[in-house]
């Protein structure tokens, strides 16, 4: 926390307003932020990106706003989308199709589908045939054992994407534009790191529902504007007079794609936990910064950052086979008391990873608990009881 805290009276109102705006924006499906950004200039474009990867710098340099689409949440009644999927497939593709078919995504000029799992992969094909007039691109971030090969491939993929989105917005591809975009996202990543650090240091001042709303706002905002918003929030929320409570510090893992309802996140903290870190908005701004050195090829820098600096996760090949050990070490580094595995039902990456991770946590004596959810889960009582029991067990005996 570096900014001078305003007085409590001054901070209270802006913070309340800021949070109310964030929640209203989150609950609205109409993409007002995207529409108003586009309305400012006719050549502006917006490209949707499915979890968990968005080539933000490339899109921004090409004159397009990257917009993360993380399903329809609990605000959307999914009817048409359900007709496309069997009962044993997660909710994300259904609600995404519902958004598309219902016209909620009309502000977008294209969609990018990364290779996060087979469901999102196949959704790219469904999407391209339902919306042939819009740009649909599938991106396969490198999972290669050989880094050099991965970087070369990824550079060529980014280059092709950059060219195509520039054609959409009528811009000429230019290395300077890419470097400027890299620098803009440097600012946003720094803001994201300030937010992370604040949560870890004083989580009672920065509840998970607020920081989550802030990050979701970043899914639909230009980078510098979002960085300013984060700093406004940190100043206002940091000035709150809030006493720490007797809660345990937890990490939430597995919720990186289909998102839990906001009420579920609130239930976790009300049950006696401080969520000090999570993977809820994986792909937001969590990878390493690409090198902005003007002497370097910016696409090469972006490819290297993706191949070398991408955050370890269930959708990333675990080349060293140490993700479980790293998670246990991270829990200890952050002085977390335990880990909550919250995975969407039928989520292959999260659920296939869980046995491996829990074994490593068991070996390292890090307590954990696990449950499943769906984006439209409406009852949180059982989850609240489970989280509460977990918190009590850890407080009483140091383990679950």
């Amino acid at each position: 926390m570096t900014a001078t805290p305003p007085t409590t009276a001054e901070a209270a109102r802006p913070l309340t307003t800021l949070l109310a705006d964030l929640e209203a924006s989150h609950r609205s499906l109409g993409m007002e932020r995207v529409r108003s950004w586009k309305a400012a200039a006719p050549e502006r474009r917006a490209i949707g990106c499915l979890p968990v990867f968005a080539p933000r710098e490339v899109l921004w340099a090409a004159g397009a706003l990257p917009v993360f689409i993380r399903g329809g949440g609990d605000q959307l009644e999914t009817i048409r989308g359900d007709a496309y999927y069997q009962s044993y497939i997660c909710r994300l593709p259904r609600s995404t199709l519902e958004l598309g078919l219902g016209g909620w995504l009309d502000a977008l000029d294209g969609m990018i589908f990364p290779n996060t799992c087979d469901v999102i992969r196949n959704l790219s094909g469904v999407w391209s045939s339902l919306f042939p007039a819009k740009l649909t691109r599938f991106l396969d971030p490198p999972q290669a054992g050989d880094q050099a090969a991965g970087i070369r491939f990824w550079r060529s993929e980014l280059s092709a994407l950059y060219r195509d989105v520039c054609a959409l917005s009528g811009r000429e591809p230019a290395p300077e534009a890419l470097r400027a975009a890299i620098l803009a996202y440097h600012q946003a990543r720094r803001a994201a790191r300030r937010l992370e650090a604040a949560r870890i240091e004083t989580p009672w001042r920065f509840p998970v529902d607020e920081t989550y709303l802030l990050r979701r706002a970043g899914d639909v905002m230009p980078p510098l504007e979002w960085a300013r918003l984060v700093d406004d929030y940190l100043v206002a929320a940091g000035a709150r007079t809030v006493r720490p409570e007797d809660r345990i510090r937890v990490l939430v893992q597995g919720a990186f794609c289909e998102q839990p309802p906001l009420g579920l996140l609130r239930a976790l903290e009300r049950a006696g936990c401080y969520v000090i870190a999570d993977d809820l908005t994986l792909g937001h701004l969590d990878s390493d910064d690409p090198d902005p050195d003007p002497g370097l090829d910016p696409l090469q820098a972006l490819a290297e950052a993706e191949m070398v600096g991408r955050t370890a996760s269930a959708v990333r090949y675990d080349a060293q086979g140490d993700r479980g050990r790293c998670l246990a070490a991270e829990a200890k580094r952050l002085h977390a008391d335990g880990i909550i595995f919250a995975a969407p039902s039928f989520c292959d990456p999260a659920l296939l990873d869980q046995p491996r991770l829990t074994k490593a946590l068991g070996d390292a004596q890090v307590p954990y608990t696990a449950f499943k959810y769906a984006e439209n889960t409406g009852q949180f009582q059982s989850i609240r009881e489970q989280a509460g029991t977990f918190a009590d067990s850890v407080k009483l005996w140091g383990h679950a």
């Binding site: 496309y84 094909g125 989520c347 292959d348 296939l352």
Partner: protein, 442 residues
């Protein structure tokens, strides 16, 4: 008594030999590599004299031998979710129970896990789990998905580079010697010969009656070429013999051989999408042949390679050809490309209908199938059917439900044919004449 084609007996002997070699691999100092069927690099592995093991084949065999349910429960007790792929859980459960193969002997642990990451996201997670158990190295070969419907030079170059820098060096390490380029090329030449014969066998289903069932019997026909025999003389001999056998049946106007004997009358010609259920395989098949329904084409017989659009392994460009093979497997194709392939099969094989078998375990196949079905109907003018079960989790196979659905679907096809006043609904179908744009390998 169960009736079998002569080629099935030949294949049984080949498999017995394979499991025998596997059982003595450690004693014979032959390295063992676990890998997957789609995008397998058998020619390369045999150039190093290593023996491949296919965990998904072990799982399906466990399913056919009624052992998979126990293995799955074992894995679920160990913390694996009921929501995830039953092949993975069956394989892990089998390992927990001693990793015994069909001959009753233990399958040796891998010296290397070769993850050909082609057409299925779960493959990567599966081998991460196996690495935990076996503590061995992984050679990771990332094969990009043809999401935008085309195989680009950048994709091919990426796969070739990984073969050169990741896969071959790791194989050289476990084999203790350099790659024998000439041997690889010989293997690839033999693969191409066997692939020619396989395509001839599957294309025989264009005849009326079809001399083969391209789904239920088809899974036996693809056995050698999709697994450890591709590139071997045994495979060439097997496919040459199979071709003769099928040609003889075709010349005699005979239908397919089913477990209850030759099919008497071909009433319905179907194209089938999706893998079969293995836990009730014979009963599943029986539903069809009892009704006189024959599969004239299927997509499952393309998971280990799509050969009917012209691709062949090519000894003149060994690594590029292996890359093209990996990139071109069925589940690595975009949904529109798969849809067009099915619609083309419906037309070219004069199918009366097409049936989607959706399996809970496999999102690579299943996610998007309902949309594909509607698209195939639109492109072909032929109505589709849809049934659901699982690969090797018997809890999700409901025989009565599937039988009811299949019979109702066939009755509908029959009524449709009657209404059109013809004997073949292929000719009764509206003249859709869709423009299909399948990529054709040259």
């Amino acid at each position: 008594m169960i009736q079998k084609e002569q080629s099935m007996e030949t294949q049984k002997a080949m498999l017995a030999g394979y499991f025998g070699r596997l059982a003595t691999a450690q004693r014979d100092h032959r390295p063992v590599v676990y890998t997957f069927v789609p995008g397998n690099l058998t020619e390369l592995l045999s150039a190093f004299d290593v023996i491949p093991v296919y965990p998904e084949i072990n799982a399906l065999q466990s399913g056919m031998r009624q052992r998979s349910d126990g293995f799955i429960r074992e894995a679920e007790r160990a913390g694996h979710s009921e929501d995830v792929c039953s092949y993975v859980k069956c394989d892990l459960g089998m390992m927990m129970k001693g990793n015994l193969g069909p001959t009753g002997e233990a399958i040796p642990p891998p010296d290397l896990l070769l993850c050909s990451f082609t057409g299925c996201f779960v493959f990567m997670k599966w081998f991460e789990l196996l690495r935990e158990q076996y503590g061995c190295d992984i050679a990771m070969l990332h094969v990009p998905y043809q999401g935008d419907g085309k195989l680009t030079p950048a994709m091919r170059a990426y796969v070739v580079e990984q073969l050169e820098r990741e896969v071959i060096p790791k194989l050289e390490k476990i084999a203790g010697r350099k790659l024998d380029q000439a041997r690889l090329e010989e293997n690839l030449a033999r693969s191409a010969r066997a692939e020619d014969d396989l395509v001839h066998v599957f294309e025989s289903a264009k005849a009326r009656p079809s001399p083969i069932d391209a789904y239920f019997a088809g899974v036996y026909y693809i056995g050698p070429i999709f697994t450890s025999f591709r590139g071997s003389q045994d495979a060439c001999d097997y496919y040459a013999a199979l071709r003769r056998e099928v040609d003889e049946r075709r010349a005699a106007g005979l239908g397919p051989v089913t477990p209850d004997g030759p099919m008497a009358q071909e009433k319905y010609r179907l194209v089938i999408e999706g893998p079969p259920n293995w836990t009730s395989f014979r009963n599943f098949w029986k539903i069809f042949y009892d009704e006189g329904a024959v599969a004239v084409a299927s997509t499952y017989t393309k998971v280990g390679g799509v050969y009917d659009t012209g691709f062949r392994h090519d000894p003149r460009r060994p690594l590029e050809s292996l890359a093209d093979y990996c990139l071109g497997c069925y589940t690595n194709l975009s949904l529109p490309a798969r849809t067009e392939l099915i619609a083309r099969n419906v037309r070219e094989y004069q199918a009366d209908g097409f049936l989607f078998h959706s399996v809970k375990s496999c999102n690579s196949f299943s996610a998007g199938q309902l949309h594909m079905m509607r698209e195939v109907e639109r492109l072909s003018g032929v109505p589709g059917g849809f049934i659901e079960s699982d690969l090797v989790d018997g809890r999700y196979y409901s025989h009565a439900n599937i039988k009811n659905r299949v019979e109702s679907y066939l009755q509908m096809l029959g009524s449709r044919r009657g209404a059109a006043g013809t004997t073949s609904s292929a000719s009764a179908a509206p003249p859709a004449s869709p423009q299909l744009h399948l990529p054709v390998h040259s």
